[in-house]
């Protein structure tokens, strides 16, 4: 990077050189001078709305370059530094100090000063700056503006208009960062206020008051009605007063009650930096941390609000052991003994650790399976998967170390997304892509709301037909495909985990990256998948990308304490099938939900047959099948390391004091009791293995799978397009009704042509069915290819895997329905 042009200026007598185009307020920060401000935010464009940062400015003008002062104080947040500029802030200019005092007084005129009942009280920029730059006594004696409060902007965000100082940080955030302009400045003059579209405020309709009536605690009956985007919660954090508050955190604590810990979010594979605030052992809120190279100062609403699952009512504290039909709470020694009995008598055990583990825990599962259980049947993927994907992961991801970074994505000339919806499955990746000048192309059946807001171009492909679309990239002579192919030289191809249900897609992606000169990156949805790959939680894969069957002796000695002689193991579908057939007789399970498995019914039958030892944080999802449940710690009660999709280690500390054990500790105890001198819990060993990450090793063979031939569609048939929405029926949202209520409304998207063929119109109900069951949702006409229906994968009333046993790219039947139906979960 070249050195930026530097500009010299003087602030309060301090001479300082800053890069060209630096705002005065930033330059002052460099010089160690704090100018008060409300509307200014480093990640938002300047607007100079609050006028709190007024300073005296003079700059050289005229042919002689004589210093000429501006006639009035100027906003420091909206003027860039020019060469020779002289700035006098409140510290050295009486005029600036006076101006700031008067602005503070004006701002406080309508502020209710209800700090004792305000959630912001104690951490409020307005409180602080009223003390530092305001007048000590108010001269205002008239009545203040009052508004009914609070107004529910979304189910999880409450607006108190009295407290608002109209800085518009929230409005600017919504428009500039995620591009969800769900709020705006309304009315004029003394009545000016922030609001969402609300007839009673705008005075446009007789049906006033419907939304205004929603106050705190009311959760709207219609799910999705107040959907305001996946990042709306950030406006609570950047509000410089207490105008925007969180419904879940409302009146729960004051800042001085809280203990804050910097940690890492567990909901997606970004590993966003967050701050967890807890009071007396209960986590009350989470805020965005500051990591300029990752999530900047923004996080998704899921990372912000969904944390109560970790202390849900079904949280386990003691081991449970099946006695007859019931699971009975027992002591730890008894629980361990029961698990040991199962593994002792098992002839062919298998391991399903799930995709949300830390690197330490994943490593423990990997070693435990291979040494203690003596099995290679281990698969972390609790979702639709394929053998091709396992090959791809072993070939391309495992042991690859730091690859494409989020900064690389933002700086790439072009990004091609395949099997990856940037907003639903990417979280803050979406924000960075939107901020950057990167051209975005997406191989998808339709332009999602996220892609449209990225200004991305759609390279249309049928669900399951991504392979052909990727293959066709460079063969196209003109049109968007050819454009994308040209732009992708030096660009990045992003492949998501959904390509696993699209035969040949990973093969095609590898080939396309090679052919077009683009880099390739795999972005899974879950936080632990990358770590699981690195720890070798796939059949035939050893930690750090080593191959299990051709493991060098020293590596085998370090990791497993001796050479391995394992027969090749089964992957997830293989384990389920074998368990159903009875050949896999014991299953060790980590934190996963059966509803996420490709065929939940088969999985349920399989686990009923086999003995199941489950290491679970919570009991409800797995208890009907488990024979022994050993409780383990959720992320906030253990320290560990996530590996995010970039390959970056994201270590995090233990937030709460807890006696809960991590998965690795429990596995260590099990190994000890099973008579193995194991190395599972040895940090030295696991960290030696982490040290191999990124070191070159023999690459395993790339997948070579041919694309699926186009399938003819019968009458009333369609191809299913589906993915998990960011806010849906995830178990991570348990105990968080406010966030769940802000989820987008589940609808079935079809094209106008398909709708006509089926005989439905916008708003009618559509039946989507397979032999397994039927999902009924309202129709939304969208720009889909003919014969494709899009459903949310796990939203209320639309659990495609459970109800239809179908995933992205599968064939389903569609027909008109006559009314909404409750879909059994």
């Amino acid at each position: 990077m070249s050195t930026p042009d530097l500009v010299a200026c003087t602030i309060d007598g301090i001479e300082i050189e800053v890069p060209k185009d630096t705002l005065i307020i930033r330059a002052a920060e460099e010089a160690g001078i704090m100018i008060p401000r409300f509307c200014d935010h480093p990640l938002l464009k300047p607007v100079a709305a609050c006028r709190q940062c007024l300073v005296d400015v003079a700059s050289p003008a005229g042919p002689e370059g004589k210093l000429r002062a501006f006639p009035k104080p100027q906003p420091a947040c909206a003027i860039s530094v020019t060469p020779g500029m002289v700035v006098n802030t409140q510290l050295s200019s009486e005029a600036a100090k006076n101006a700031q005092e008067q602005v503070a007084e004006l701002i406080l005129i309508n502020h209710p000063l209800d700090c004792p009942i305000c959630d912001k009280g104690g951490e409020c920029p307005l409180q602080n700056q009223a003390m530092s730059t305001g007048r000590s006594v108010s001269r205002f004696e008239d009545k203040k503006n009052t508004f009914p409060k609070p107004l529910a902007l979304t189910p999880q965000i409450l607006l108190d208009r009295e407290r608002c100082v109209l800085c518009q940080r929230c409005v600017r955030f919504a428009a500039q960062i995620p591009g969800d302009p769900f709020i705006a400045l309304q009315k004029r003059g003394a009545n000016q206020q922030i609001g969402r579209f609300d007839p009673s405020v705008l005075g446009v309709a007789e049906t006033a008051g419907q939304l205004a009536d929603q106050t705190a605690g009311d959760i709207p009956a219609i799910c999705g009605e107040p959907f305001a985007g996946y990042f709306a919660g950030n406006i609570i954090q950047i509000c410089p007063v207490g105008a925007l508050t969180s419904a879940a955190y409302r009146f729960r604590a004051r800042p001085f009650d809280l203990v804050s810990t910097e940690t890492v979010a567990e909901h997606d594979s970004n590993g966003s930096a967050i701050r967890v605030d807890y009071r007396r052992g209960t986590v009350l809120r989470r805020l965005a941390g500051d990591d300029p190279s990752l999530n900047q100062e923004w996080i998704s609403d899921k990372d912000r609000f969904a944390f109560r699952w970790q202390a849900a009512p079904d949280r386990l504290e003691r081991p449970l052991v099946r006695q007859g039909d019931q699971l009975v709470e027992v002591s730890w020694p008894e629980g361990i003994r029961a698990a040991v009995e199962i593994f002792d008598s098992a002839t062919n055990p298998a391991v399903l650790p799930g995709g949300r583990l830390t690197l330490e825990d994943a490593y423990a599962y990997s070693v435990f399976a291979r040494t203690v259980l003596g099995t290679d049947s281990v698969d972390f993927r609790a979702r639709p998967s394929s053998h091709e994907e396992a090959q791809f992961l072993a070939h391309f991801v495992a042991g690859a170390g730091l690859g494409v970074s989020l900064d690389d994505l933002a700086q790439a000339p072009a990004v091609l997304l395949a099997g990856f919806e940037p907003e639903d499955e990417g979280g803050i990746i979406f924000l960075r892509l939107r901020e950057a000048d990167t051209k975005v192309y997406s191989v998808a059946p339709f332009a999602s709301r996220g892609l449209r807001r990225l200004g991305g171009k759609l390279l249309r492909a049928l669900p399951g037909g991504e392979a052909s679309a990727l293959d066709a990239l460079s063969s196209a002579a003109d049109g968007p495909r050819a454009e994308a192919a040209a732009a992708l030289k030096g660009g990045v191809i992003v492949v998501g985990e959904r390509l696993a249900s699209s035969p040949g897609a990973y093969t095609a992606a590898l080939a396309a990256a090679d052919r077009l000169g683009a880099r390739l990156v795999w972005i899974p949805r879950r936080a632990g998948e990358r770590a699981a790959v690195e720890a070798g939680l796939l059949p035939g894969l050893a930690p750090a990308g080593r191959s299990l069957d051709a493991l060098a002796d020293d590596v085998a000695e370090t990791v497993f304490g001796g050479p391995m002689g394992l027969t090749p193991g089964l992957d997830l579908p293989g384990i389920i099938a074998a368990a159903q057939a009875g050949s896999v007789d014991a299953v060790l399970m980590g934190g996963l939900e059966l509803a996420d498995l490709p065929d939940p019914r088969a999985a349920s039958a399989a686990l009923n047959t086999a003995k199941v030892v489950a290491l679970q944080v919570r009991g409800d999802s797995i208890s009907p099948w488990a024979d022994v449940i050993l409780p383990v710690a959720p992320p906030q009660e253990k320290a560990g390391t996530f590996i995010n999709w970039e390959g970056r280690l994201r270590p995090f500390p233990q937030v709460l004091t807890s006696t809960a054990l991590s998965d690795a500790r429990v596995l260590q105890v099990l190994a000890d009791q099973l008579g193995f001198e194991s190395r599972i819990g040895e940090l030295a060993t696991s960290h030696q293995v982490f040290g191999w990450l990124g070191k070159p090793s023999a690459r395993r063979a790339a997948p070579a799978v041919a694309p699926r031939a186009p399938r003819p569609l019968g009458a009333g048939q369609a191809v299913l397009s589906t993915w998990r929405y960011q806010v849906d029926d995830s178990a991570a949202l348990d105990g968080e009704p406010y966030l769940a209520a802000s989820a987008p409304a589940p609808v079935a998207r079809i094209s106008a042509v398909t709708a006509r063929a089926v005989g439905v119109r916008q708003g009618d109900y559509l039946n989507v069915s397979t032999s397994g069951g039927t999902i009924t949702l309202p129709v939304a006409i969208d720009d889909l290819p003919e014969g494709v229906v899009h459903l949310p994968a796990k939203s209320p009333g639309s659990w495609t895997l459970v109800t239809l046993t179908a995933t992205d790219g599968d064939l389903v039947g569609i027909s008109a329905a006559h009314g909404p139906k409750e879909v059994a979960r």
Binding site: P116, I117, F251, F256
Partner: protein, 221 residues
């Protein structure tokens, strides 16, 4: 200080005579002798007798006050806990809902505890209270055999219902805001509040008595 000043401070006493010096070692027993014949003053505290009230501004046990209609004044702001130098106060706030309105406005003190093993009766909490919800009574008989008993909870600290008050929860006086409550515009419960209590808490004896009798004359002044 000069030696001269020093002598000025010593009491000017006459030198004792021979007899005086001889009796001096036993002079103190005079007090003992006198009390042999005095009436004993054993106070049968707390079983017998009446004890004078302390001075009006004596710092005794705390009290959480109510507005004249019975709503609590505490908004759960925790400023008392913040001000407390002994960390004796624990507060957790809650949100009033239309069905359960405990205080005027949006917020009330859901949990309120004062640990009298820690409290030093300095009164900083009283100064900090923005709604004058917390005041101190003259009650000083704070003793117990267990630690738990010395942690006073909200129901123990709440001021007793005065004549005409309706116990919370019940709605605010219709048409009034928390500011109106604070500036003293409420003098007692209104008929509608009484009606609400009758309807929603039919079994509530304290509320019933007020709702059937005293209410009606109160309300907005």
């Amino acid at each position: 200080m000069s030696p001269k000043d020093n002598t000025a401070l010593t009491p000017d006493r006459k030198e004792k005579g021979f007899l005086g010096r001889g009796v001096a070692p036993w002079a103190g027993f005079g007090v003992t002798l006198r009390t042999f014949f005095a009436k004993p003053v054993t106070e049968q505290y707390p079983f017998k007798g009446k004890y004078p009230a302390p001075f009006p501004r004596y710092h005794g046990r705390h009290q959480l006050n109510r507005y004249p209609d019975g709503l609590e004044k505490c908004v759960g702001c925790e400023l008392c806990a913040w001000a407390c130098p002994a960390d004796a106060i624990f507060v957790e706030a809650g949100a009033n809902t239309p069905d359960e309105q405990y205080s005027a406005g949006e917020r009330y003190g859901r949990v309120y505890q004062i640990n009298y093993l820690r409290c030093i009766f300095c009164g900083m909490c009283i100064e900090a209270c923005p709604t004058r919800a917390l005041t101190m009574t003259n009650f000083y008989e704070l003793a117990s055999a267990t630690r738990e008993d010395m942690i006073f909870t909200k129901d123990e600290l709440l001021a007793p219902l005065e004549e005409g008050m309706l116990p919370a929860p019940h709605p605010m006086v219709e048409g009034l805001t928390d500011d109106d409550y604070y500036s003293g515009k409420v003098t007692g419960p209104t008929d509608r509040q009484a009606e609400w209590v009758r309807l929603h808490r039919p079994g509530d004896v304290a509320g019933e008595a007020v709702a059937s009798g005293a209410a009606g004359q109160g309300g907005q002044s």
